[in-house]
């Protein structure tokens, strides 16, 4: 009835690969950001799947794993707030968020 943990981890890997594809192929910084969100969620899915797996052996491990996902969510929220602020500032400065032209901080 329940899908095995391997299936969830494989799905997580597929989602992560698709997100990485988006980071590499998209040219607008906002779309790169969306793809990063996809990768974060793929990682969360893997953590929750492992938490269910290890809950069969250790009572505390399962709930601790789910709590780690909770903390990842909070970090993602902070990241989105600051990242979108940076994007808005960049857009005001140059009316574009094309990542190919953003090379001012390159050494």
């Amino acid at each position: 009835m329940n899908a095995p943990t391997e299936a969830y981890v494989a799905l997580s890997g597929v989602l992560f690969a698709i997100g990485a594809m988006g980071v590499l192929t998209r040219r607008s910084a906002i779309m790169v950001f969306l793809s990063i969100e996809l990768m974060l969620n793929a990682a969360n899915l893997a953590i929750v799947a492992y938490a269910r797996h290890w809950a069969g052996f250790d009572a505390l491990a399962g709930l601790t794993g789910q709590t780690v996902v909770f903390i990842v969510l909070a970090v993602a929220a902070a990241e989105v707030a600051v990242g979108l602020g940076i994007l808005v500032a960049i857009f005001r400065d140059r009316s574009s968020t094309d990542v190919d032209t953003l090379a001012e901080v390159r050494l």
Partner: protein, 201 residues
């Protein structure tokens, strides 16, 4: 297993939509669909509180913030610079197939699957009480650090927006923090402006 298959198909199609759709708003809405399907997947993994938080925080707050910024910036449709269609699709297929293979092989060592009854007993359905016990017990340091991080994020977002106070675009980002408290609508429809000026003060 049928549930998982349906959810997996929905999530992979949504993820491909995020990467491949031309219109940024369409891509963002595709990501919303993926996140909602992920919330249902959390329910099948007995993480009910996380499923609720996923819908509220991710599909609700974060994606609305994304859509606000997309509409604000009016991002144009820019495609890839060089067209290599055959190579691109081969690379996509290779990445996805290899990722799935790694996911299966890395974990396929023949260990027995845990007893579902024991798992349900230990996870307590992923309730808020159990998660709170872990959050204020074993992960107390991480909890404190996340608090500092969120404060830093709010201050950083406000500082980024405040640089040009005379710009009319400054108001919406004042509510960019993940926890916009005090957003009670004032009479006269000034709720958004009041939130922005409160953050900039």
């Amino acid at each position: 297993m049928v549930t998982f298959t349906v959810l997996a198909v929905v999530m992979v199609v949504g993820a491909l939509g995020v990467v491949l759709l031309k219109q940024p708003v369409h891509a963002a809405l595709s990501l919303v669909g993926t996140l909602l399907a992920l919330a249902v997947t959390y329910v099948t993994l007995e993480a009910h509180f996380l499923a609720a938080i996923q819908v509220i925080v991710y599909a609700g707050a974060i994606m609305v913030l994304f859509l606000f910024v997309l509409m604000l910036l009016n991002v144009k449709d820019i495609g890839p610079r060089r067209a290599l269609p055959g190579v691109r699709w081969a690379a996509y297929a290779t990445a996805v197939v290899l990722a799935a293979a790694v996911g299966v092989v890395a974990f396929w060592d023949g260990r027995p699957a845990p007893d579902p009854a024991v798992v349900s007993l230990h996870l307590q359905g992923g309730s808020a009480g159990g998660i709170g016990d872990a959050l204020f017990g074993e992960l107390l340091l991480a909890f404190h650090l996340v608090g500092v991080l969120l404060l830093t994020g709010v201050v950083g977002a406000v500082a980024l927006v405040q640089r040009r106070a005379e710009s009319t675009h400054g108001a919406p980002k004042g509510g960019g923090g993940p926890a916009p408290e005090g957003s009670t609508p004032l009479p006269g429809g000034r709720s958004a402006g009041a939130l922005g000026s409160g953050g900039a003060r």
